[in-house]
Symmetry: C3
Subunit: 468 residues, 3 copies
Amino acid sequence: MAILDPDRLLPSEPSARRVARDLYTLVRDLPIVSPHNHVDPAWFAGNEPFTDATELLIIPDHYVLRMLVSQGKGFDQWGVPRQDGTVEVRDKRAIWRAFADHYYLFRGTPTRLWLDHVFQDLFGLSERLTPDNADHYFDVIGDKLADLAFRPRALFERFGIEVLATTEGALDPLTHHEALRASSWDGRVITTYRPDALTDPEKPGFAERVEQFGDLTGEAATTWAGFLAAHRVRREFFRSHGATATDHGHATARTEALSPSDAAALFDRALRAGLSPDEAELFRAHMLVEMARMSVEDGMVMQLHPGAMRDHSPGVAAAFGSDMGFDIPVPTDFVHGLKPLLDELGHDPNLTLILFTVDESTISRELAPLAGAYPALKLGPAWWFFDSADGMRRYRELTTETAGFYNTVGFNDDTRALCSIPARHDVARRVDCAFLADLVVQGRLDEAEAGEVAGDLAYGLAKRTYRL
Amino acid sequence: MAILDPDRLLPSEPSARRVARDLYTLVRDLPIVSPHNHVDPAWFAGNEPFTDATELLIIPDHYVLRMLVSQGKGFDQWGVPRQDGTVEVRDKRAIWRAFADHYYLFRGTPTRLWLDHVFQDLFGLSERLTPDNADHYFDVIGDKLADLAFRPRALFERFGIEVLATTEGALDPLTHHEALRASSWDGRVITTYRPDALTDPEKPGFAERVEQFGDLTGEAATTWAGFLAAHRVRREFFRSHGATATDHGHATARTEALSPSDAAALFDRALRAGLSPDEAELFRAHMLVEMARMSVEDGMVMQLHPGAMRDHSPGVAAAFGSDMGFDIPVPTDFVHGLKPLLDELGHDPNLTLILFTVDESTISRELAPLAGAYPALKLGPAWWFFDSADGMRRYRELTTETAGFYNTVGFNDDTRALCSIPARHDVARRVDCAFLADLVVQGRLDEAEAGEVAGDLAYGLAKRTYRL
Amino acid sequence: MAILDPDRLLPSEPSARRVARDLYTLVRDLPIVSPHNHVDPAWFAGNEPFTDATELLIIPDHYVLRMLVSQGKGFDQWGVPRQDGTVEVRDKRAIWRAFADHYYLFRGTPTRLWLDHVFQDLFGLSERLTPDNADHYFDVIGDKLADLAFRPRALFERFGIEVLATTEGALDPLTHHEALRASSWDGRVITTYRPDALTDPEKPGFAERVEQFGDLTGEAATTWAGFLAAHRVRREFFRSHGATATDHGHATARTEALSPSDAAALFDRALRAGLSPDEAELFRAHMLVEMARMSVEDGMVMQLHPGAMRDHSPGVAAAFGSDMGFDIPVPTDFVHGLKPLLDELGHDPNLTLILFTVDESTISRELAPLAGAYPALKLGPAWWFFDSADGMRRYRELTTETAGFYNTVGFNDDTRALCSIPARHDVARRVDCAFLADLVVQGRLDEAEAGEVAGDLAYGLAKRTYRL
């Protein structure tokens, strides 16, 4: 028996399915390049075992939790710790059983595809999770996790990961990356420079962090020139731990190229008097241009993820913290927003700026036209809510005709869930092969060309664009 | 001969069609739950016969009329009464012939699907309507309508309607529902509380209506506390006539939670001095929160239909009135708009707020992410312009991966056209079965699961969500 | 061997493909009606030969250039002349070879479909362009172009063009159209009135052009009444050169119906003092209403193409001029924007206003609902970035259910690339036949009806709507 259909996500029409299978065969076993994700580097540094199915697959996964919460099954029921440290339900097996009772909610979702992949491919389970086999699942997964072959480093190798880039804040000491560098293990786990906490003066504690930034770098970070110098020092430090990219999660895509004196004055006000919301937005906008300028200098690939309103529910944020599945997309304006940056650097051969969106209306209207013109721009893959079979399909349909395949950058798993990495890449590979196969049977692409493109989408583009 | 293809709207690929047929067989004959529509309760109370094809199918149907008007065939030509009472063309047979001449305009539209369904399934016609058979159609339909078996109550039973909710304004005396309750007929026709005329101070005559509201309820409705009390009294009255839901047609999705004193002051100004457009919007926004609070108290399911600019053509409105097909969608902001309501009540287990949109760009960007997180939110079906085969398909593709099936609420026919009810539910059932079948053949859902989901989409979800 | 699949763009499912093939057979060889394009009328007037593949297919084609530029291969490398007259690379064969090296970038794009069509159907080439056969291509194309059978008039005839409308500014002397009228050649090449330079006071030199406008027409064009009279004279002049339509490329869809005195005052200020950006927008908005009023008088079909931010990259514009592929779509508001015009003329039987969009989110939300109601409105085809297989498919899916087929106007090739005209019409015919075939196999349309619609989409609607 099997949980997974070997032809899942491939076209149903037989001639297209045949082509898609052939294409998929070419790319299925290519190494995984994961240039952007959020797994914890401590796992690889410490290489401690995961404990049980609930700790591994439910409690840390906001995709899972948000769906359960949306059906009135609140965070407390799933063992999620509150900000005050309390945990309402501690019986992991009971939580797992409750999860099995609600697994039907995930029908048709990517979460279900990812989990089923993990259940079958990683843990060797062969029947769909139901209330009846919940205990069996919990036992099997728990037993496996106790095995050395399921420690983080072993999983990394089993998954065929060639390189994995985690994401750390600008003040992060990179202790775990340091430990990895010092270890004998040769898995390539690199970092990514994420300076949001030091580009956004509205994040509480900005002034304090600027002080720390100075301490950490030896620069006079409370002056504008010193602040920029500190970023340079820190970027260099991240590069020395493998980083080839920066990542910027902004509320909007706005950029500005202020004069040095205006920027300095704004920075001073941010530290001393505080900024109005408009001024804070202006500062963030200018910092994107500064980051782009530094990318031109140091060759770091720049990623911009705008458009999510963070912590839409203040009640959830207060009780359980951020990143709990209550970030909601808003309309995003890339055309006006990016113009100042592009006016200055859009044709610079040393800049690669990768754009992501959670506003699908921008894909064909703004992103594909921009990326199909400016050499500095590339399109990141379908992201977040759209890291899904239909989302990826729409992404290809909305980008390819205007920007082609070669202004896209391959796949990002962007996940905190280590075990889901192969599942996510597999979904992307299948969806891309299905899309390519349809082009082939519709006479829009030769099969040999499609094979080349499939390889690039699965492996080559990520490796080349992220300079890995 | 037949007008309708028995496999219409099912996938063309044979293996998917086979699965879709099997799924459709499971749901085709399920009872119709119609939790939201606009048919006239007087039909069931009076049970008088309809007169002819033109009166039944053309004159009252703004979907039909708008298409004809868009091709330069104005309302007057179709027997539509002007606001001043004049009717230019009174020959119903001549109108029907003219309609047959223009029936080709509806190719590819849902109107065509619905009408063909009515022609074949209800009236037993077997050839597509053409100029040549227009008279035959008119005669056959006229003869049938004279039959007792085509009276409204008989149609209700023939259609397999388990429950049908009409929509009435807050001041409506519910005479027809009262008559139905008193009658021996056991068809379940319930009402829905639609208080727009008493939440929107910009609708002419607001102050007068508030006076009537007081008279009707015995509350001091011209005071803020009395006004709210009057709503409570009236909601209770509607519930005593079967209502389980309220319906709110607002221009925007804006909500606000004003302080009681601010709300009271705004209400006073609305009655005495009049409000600016911004203040009126604020009042409506606050009233949505008041309605939500009352829903928490009394358990009525709340429906919000924002985003249509009503009466875009003032000429049409002046000559023929509202609801003539000249309401046009505008961009809608759910993320900021709903936040005040959700901050207060988004996690309240007693609130169910069903959202509808006519701005498809919000489906994947805003609605699915919101409904896939907040327990109070559910997604109404593809609505109005999108109550159509492709519209429904897009709706499933844009909602399922983020919000799943179980944050949607089944189908609403939302119609004034009694005879189209089975046709509309049939289209929805077919499109959902086609969507599910594609998931099955793509290995994304087991066939047994798909059968369960199909039943829920066709019947179970509407019944449960609307508490019917 | 062949480059092109004879079934390209038709559905892969065999039963749908069979229907699509039959439909396509009906329309494949219909004459080409090209009511809106940008080829140079001088080609037909002079009938001089084109020189080589690079001059013909690369240097003037911004679709080709923008993709190459987006991959860091700047305009200079492709022989594009700078504004200062310099041309960096002059070796046409070397450019062609470099183009062949990068032809893989166009995989999945409409440019690739168009070029392959030209290569095979026009130039008789039989292998896909690669670096290895680049010289062969260059030689074959060059040889053919030297042949009389490849002169512009011969191409016009070979392509089966029944009528072709070029686009000229209001001040254009129409020399080439005059020459064509005087010639013995009977190809029907007509003009289109494009008055943007005389409706937009922000285009540099507006006051000077108004002076010329007066000189050209003998009207007192610097007065408001004279300015309008000059437009009337000029429209008449264009009509005498075959024009049946006007074309308006505005940044937005805003319209306004100012009082004559307000309009006159604004015009005076535009000439004498200059306008603020808001005033300039108001003037353009009012001019659209004036143009619509003139269309009611003189029967010219009006086309509105809003929503592109022109010259997004100032660096590109400064170095290489406008129309180099750096125009980027922005959100467009048709619902509020068009209301003043529609309030006055939306039901006028003498007005036909054809709308185009590059913001796909407006198609189902705004354009189909508007065109499915107002008799004056029609929907132009999928345009610019969406003149592509998937773009056209989405267009049909998003318009048909609300506006039907008969509120659309057939295909526009809208091209400067003469040789691509048959390829572009062929893509549109194939995509429409594929769409119709899917409706047929899904039981939504009879095959005979689909044949009628296919003919209308390929030929009849353009001819009738543009009054050709």
